[in-house]
């Protein structure tokens, strides 16, 4: 598609001061750099397919996660209820040096059962980094996954309440100078209200969206298929909903946005950017194979070439009319 002599478009973006080679991050929980290297070899990660690396959510204590089954397919999407299985922040930090080979900024995604847990995790990461752990990757900041059920509020996620979101964000803000990203849930009446609360409390950027709460039955027994009964819907099925939310938030606030939800090709990336996103994340599409992120970035480049656009700034916010 490249015209002879046509300039190669510049995919670089700057997310709240963090320069990224291109706008495509991985969505937390859907890509693991260590496992990818282990199975598909170092070539699969050189160059690293994402411009920043978001490991899966870590919590204060170790979590075994939800009982299986944990996922299945839906029409143009998938549902999952992994339940934030993770080894807890201490083991996570002990293993952090294993990620030293990751050549892009790392964003630590944090979850918790109560607001205090998020803060304690963040504090421990800061502590460990301040101690200058040898061979650590470049931890550029945090993504607060505020979609986790909050035991203190009857299971209501922090991210469903602007007030709770504001309190947690402000407290986290006080603990770190690194990039602070709040990852919003789409399961709310008014996503702008929650986004505003996070932005006003000091979030540097907003990620949206997390998965949409959903239910799938076992076709034989007609009872809930997932061990956790309900789960989170993601993939192309939810793209129009995610796009709407990014568009609404970008239209109302100035905070930079990492858009996600159903991105499966370069055109999708462009659409999120047109709706105001600065960067994007690829989740379910990783499950189409290890080549997915590179294909998406290549398609994005081809889209810009085909449209004669020099960079993403030429498109950003175009849909905000």
């Amino acid at each position: 598609m490249t015209q002879p002599g046509a300039p190669v478009p510049d995919l670089a973006v700057t997310l709240a001061g963090l320069r990224l080679e291109h706008p495509v991050l991985n969505a937390s929980g859907t890509f693991d750099a260590l496992e990818t290297a282990r199975h598909y070899g170092p070539e699969a990660l050189a160059p690293f397919p994402f411009s920043a690396y978001v490991p899966k959510t870590v919590t204060l204590e170790r979590r075994d996660g939800n009982p299986p089954p944990r996922l299945t397919e839906t029409a143009a999407g998938m549902i999952n209820a992994v339940g934030l299985q993770n080894p807890g922040i201490e083991a996570y930090l002990d293993d952090l040096p294993l990620l030293a080979f990751v050549p892009v900024p790392v964003l630590v995604n944090i979850g918790g059962r109560r607001p205090g847990d998020y803060l304690e995790v963040l504090r421990r990461v800061e502590e460990r980094l301040a101690a200058g752990a040898a061979g650590s990757p470049q931890v550029a900041g945090y993504e607060l996954n505020v979609s986790c059920p909050n035991v203190g509020r009857g299971g209501l996620a922090v991210g469903t309440e602007p007030g709770e979101t504001e309190k947690l964000t402000a407290a986290a803000r006080a603990l770190t100078k690194r990039l602070l990203i709040v990852k919003l849930t789409p399961n709310v009446t008014d996503v702008v209200a929650v986004a505003r609360a996070a932005a006003e409390a000091g979030a540097d950027a907003l990620s949206l969206v997390n998965t949409v709460r959903a239910l799938v039955l076992d076709p034989q027994t007609l009872t809930p298929f997932l061990g956790n009964r309900t789960g989170g819907l993601s993939g192309p099925a939810i793209k129009p909903v995610a796009l709407r939310m990014v568009w609404e938030v970008a239209g109302a606030l100035d905070a930079p946005i990492i858009g996600m939800g159903g991105i499966a090709c370069g055109r999708d990336v462009l659409e999120f950017v047109a709706c105001g996103a600065t960067a994007v994340a690829v989740g379910a599409a990783n499950f189409s194979g290890p080549d997915a992120p590179r294909r998406i970035v290549a398609e994005l480049r081809a889209e810009l070439v085909g449209r004669g656009l020099p960079d993403l700034a030429a498109v950003r916010g175009r849909a905000l009319v």
Binding site: E43, L45, P47, P67, P68, M78, P103, F225
Partner: protein
């Protein structure tokens, strides 16, 4: 940013690959299809009991389907497919010259190094991985006995996809071979006290194998199924409860030691859907 920094030493060697491979032969056994793919790089890395993730044709979003390596020869790998849902129905309808996007080989297969005699016990499409197993053991001169159980004559067509010297067949309705299950047959046929039991099939079969093996004092392995997304350890979506907690079928399995699947293994037994293997194989039962 130095985007070419090498990953840690332990990860410098790929165990799997992903690419597009051509179907070069297709055989039917009733509704089942045996597809031969020209996939030299997968063939070179493969071990018995491993599987591949197969992308379905078309542009709509769908998870890849995990399929066992039925057998491997030279640059070829074979997949034996049962049409269950929509995806596998599309796969059995593929023809020669169609191409498939496939990643693999994945997972830990059957640890055959110390097997001195093998009793392969499988039911339904669970037979799929055992040609590869038998081939490798035969090459090593290890005696192999296989007992395959099928629902009925139609499903017993699957046996046609196998060349194993001592292969016994049972059907639930007695229409082909012995009347009964693969485990009943295995119990009858036996394979000596040294034999390793290698099993694959639906939950009740694995349950019966586990019970029998433990009373008979036999050790062995079972290959489990679970719905998968990444197929390579990233998403934690395919776990089964084991004595060591939740383990991922895709990287910790699909083959597990039978005694790992015993009772008391669940880490969260009070939750719905929790339980032990063969509950661990529940996704399969759910189909």
């Amino acid at each position: 940013m130095n985007s070419t920094a090498p990953p840690p030493a332990e990860q410098t060697c790929a165990t799997a690959t992903s690419g597009h491979y051509r179907v070069i032969e297709r055989r039917s056994f009733g509704p089942y299809a045996l597809l031969t793919l020209l996939a030299p790089d997968i063939a070179a890395l493969a071990a018995p009991g491993q599987f591949v993730m197969v992308a379905l044709p078309g542009t709509q979003f769908r998870l890849r389907r995990p399929l066992s390596l039925h057998s491997v020869g030279g640059e070829r790998v074979r997949l034996l497919v049962e049409p269950r849902g929509e995806g596998t129905r599309e796969l059995v309808e593929l023809g020669v010259a169609d191409t498939l996007a496939v990643a693999g080989p994945l997972g830990h297969g059957f640890p055959l190094e110390r097997v001195r005699a093998a009793l392969l016990v499988a039911g339904g499409i669970g037979v799929a991985p055992f040609q590869f197993v038998a081939d490798v053991l035969r090459a090593r001169g290890v005696p192999v006995t296989a007992t395959f159980g099928f629902r009925d004559e139609g499903q017993a067509r699957l046996a046609g996809a196998f060349e194993i010297d001592h292969l016994w067949v049972a059907t639930d309705d007695g229409s082909v071979g012995r009347h009964g299950t693969a485990v009943e047959l295995a119990r009858e046929v036996g394979a000596g006290p040294q034999a390793s039991v290698l099993a694959c099939g639906p939950a009740p079969l694995l349950d019966a194998v586990r019970t029998w093996a433990s009373t008979a004092g036999l050790s062995g392995y079972a290959s489990l199924e679970a719905h998968m997304a990444c197929g390579s350890g990233a998403c934690h979506g395919c776990v089964v409860p084991t004595r060591e907690g939740y383990l991922r079928v895709c990287v910790d399995g699909p083959v597990f030691a039978l005694d790992l699947l015993g009772s008391g293994a669940s880490t969260d037994a009070s939750a719905p859907g929790a339980g032990l293997a063969p509950d661990g194989a529940k996704p399969q039962a759910a189909q």
